[in-house]
């Protein structure tokens, strides 16, 4: 594995900066094992203490420029999911994504997943009630949640933030103050699609979260702003589809990127992006870690 692709994020060593984003193909060890063969790390689908059925279908749709989803944090609950993850083969590090209503619940969740290499706090799901964005738009609460989780585990803790706030940097700073080891930016944007012949919203939940290539400029800007103000590492997420997007996010300040909607194109995408990045680093002679934030210094 080429040295030039290696990145270290809050002590997690990754063979490349390509992480599987939460919510995509992350419900079973079977798919995580397959994707982790080439990914730098994988993040599971978000899990809460209790089972959640989620919204009825249609829960995920695509439009010309990305996806819109309202799955509603469907999950088997912490106990059953921890059981499912027992079959994870650890070809690459495992980050478990958590959602909860209170700091205490977040901290309790951690205890189910002591085998994980790190945790991602879903403070940003735009379509679930009382969790996700509902807790992630209050800086005080974010600080408290991160603090509680950090007390409960020695593993790195990442806060995944939403762009659906007036000032994402304010939330990022709160997470940093709470002791977060890194920030993931961004989760999906609130959005919806209406079928003009049926004259009704397509998603059963009416609206959901927009992801994919269309929102990439928004995500790059959030990473840029967070990099300017924070000291902890930033993981970029939002529309990464080609190797050029990976480089763009890294230049903006991301040490790693998450890939979700692009699985729509291929479940071999980690392999093909990795190969493209190898070609890029051979051409330029760069190590990817060295270009993190380089556009700020131009």
């Amino acid at each position: 594995m080429p040295e030039a692709l290696k990145v270290s994020v809050a002590g997690i060593e990754m063979r490349n900066p390509l992480m599987l984003a939460s919510g995509v193909m992350g419900s079973s060890s079977a798919s995580l094992n397959r994707l982790s063969e080439h990914a730098g790390a994988v993040v599971t689908k978000s899990v809460g203490l209790e089972p959640v059925e989620g919204y009825r279908n249609p829960a995920v749709i695509n439009y010309s420029h990305g996806l819109i989803n309202a799955v509603g944090l469907a999950s088997p609950g912490a106990k059953a999911f921890a059981e499912e993850l027992k079959d994870y083969a650890f070809y690459s590090p495992l980050i478990v994504s958590l959602f909860a209503h209170t700091p205490e619940e977040f901290a309790e969740l951690v205890s189910y997943f002591e085998f994980a290499d790190g945790f991602e706090l879903n403070l940003s799901c735009p379509h679930a009630k009382n969790v996700g964005l509902a807790v992630g738009s209050d800086p005080e609460l974010v600080r408290e949640i991160v603090r509680e989780v950090k007390r409960a585990t020695r593993r790195p803790v990442f806060a995944k933030l939403s762009p659906n706030v007036s000032d994402i940097v304010e939330i990022g700073k709160a997470a940093e103050e709470g002791g977060a080891d890194g920030i993931v930016a961004i989760n999906t944007l609130k959005g919806m699609k209406i079928d003009i012949f049926a004259k009704r919203p397509i998603l059963s939940n009416v609206s959901g979260g927009v992801s994919g290539e269309g929102i990439k400029p928004v995500a790059v800007k959030c990473v840029w702003d967070l990099y300017e103000e924070l000291s902890i590492p930033i993981i970029g997420s939002g529309g990464v589809t080609s190797w050029k997007d990976v480089i763009e996010f890294m230049l903006a300040g991301a040490r790693a990127v998450q890939i979700g909607s692009a699985l729509f194109y291929s479940n071999r995408i980690f392999y093909s992006l990795k190969e493209s990045l190898i070609a890029y680093t051979r051409m330029t002679g760069e190590r990817l870690e060295d270009i993190v934030g380089a556009a700020h210094r131009a």
Partner: protein, 232 residues
């Protein structure tokens, strides 16, 4: 998503109907659509021809669909998924239950390819039979003996010379597929087989992960048709 009108409904039995749409969908046999019954739910359904789905009532949404009378407007996404690969040689089609739907579409397609086709079709009882008239050369097995021979498709296959067939196609309930895979492996025929799987699906487009099977592949995007080799 686009919308289609249900033009005509053929009720095969109390629990099974075929819905014909006002317009054909450009699709290959084995592909499926996500059909949105407004006010109910969106569900994956294999096409039983370019302009039809054949549905069995197993829950609230499918019960609603089976009771359609024509004129209803539905939402459609797709077609999605990996189709069967055709042959112009000798083909064996193995259908179990409502798994007959994509295989009836495949049968029409293979006929146009000039294939020589034999069908074996197993159901629990004769009430579950549908689309039988679409097949030229078909043997039926029912578990209760209410039609054809008493038994399962495996009983019908027991005495067949599988080496005669260039391609073996199958679709049916999970238990049947599992048993069939074992059988085909034993007979050294698994490399010529293509099997269509069914799983609960959310997105239909390969991102949500709800239809992932044991080997990590996605029924919606890497399947629903898999080669026998991918499954053993």
């Amino acid at each position: 998503m686009f919308t289609l009108r249900v033009e005509r409904v053929v009720r095969h039995s109390e629990r099974i109907s075929t819905l014909y749409f006002s317009k054909p969908i450009l699709a290959y046999p084995g592909q499926f659509i996500m059909l949105n019954v407004f006010g109910y739910e969106e569900i994956p359904l294999s096409l039983s021809s370019p302009r039809s789905v054949t549905v069995k009532a197993v829950g609230e949404t499918t019960e609603k669909i089976v009771s359609f009378e024509g004129g209803e407007v539905v939402g459609v996404r797709g077609p999605f998924g990996n189709p069967f690969s055709p042959t112009s040689g000798r083909a064996l089609i193995i259908a179990g239950g409502i798994g007959v739907a994509p295989l009836a579409f495949l049968h029409d397609f293979l006929k146009r390819c000039g294939a020589e086709i034999r069908v074996v079709y197993g159901v629990k009882n004769s009430d579950e039979l549908a689309l039988v008239e679409r097949f030229d050369n078909v043997q039926i097995a029912t578990e209760d003996g209410s039609a054809g021979v008493r038994g399962t498709v495996l009983d019908l296959l027991e005495d067949m010379e599988l080496n005669e067939y260039d391609k073996i196609y199958a679709c049916g309930p999970e238990g049947m597929v599992r048993a069939l895979l074992g059988f085909l492996k034993e007979r050294g025929a698994v490399e010529r087989a293509e099997l269509s799987l069914e799983r609960y699906m959310r997105c239909g487009i390969g991102v949500c992960g709800s239809c992932v099977i044991e080997n990590g592949l996605r029924v919606c995007a890497d399947g629903p048709v898999f080669s026998g080799k991918q499954l053993v």
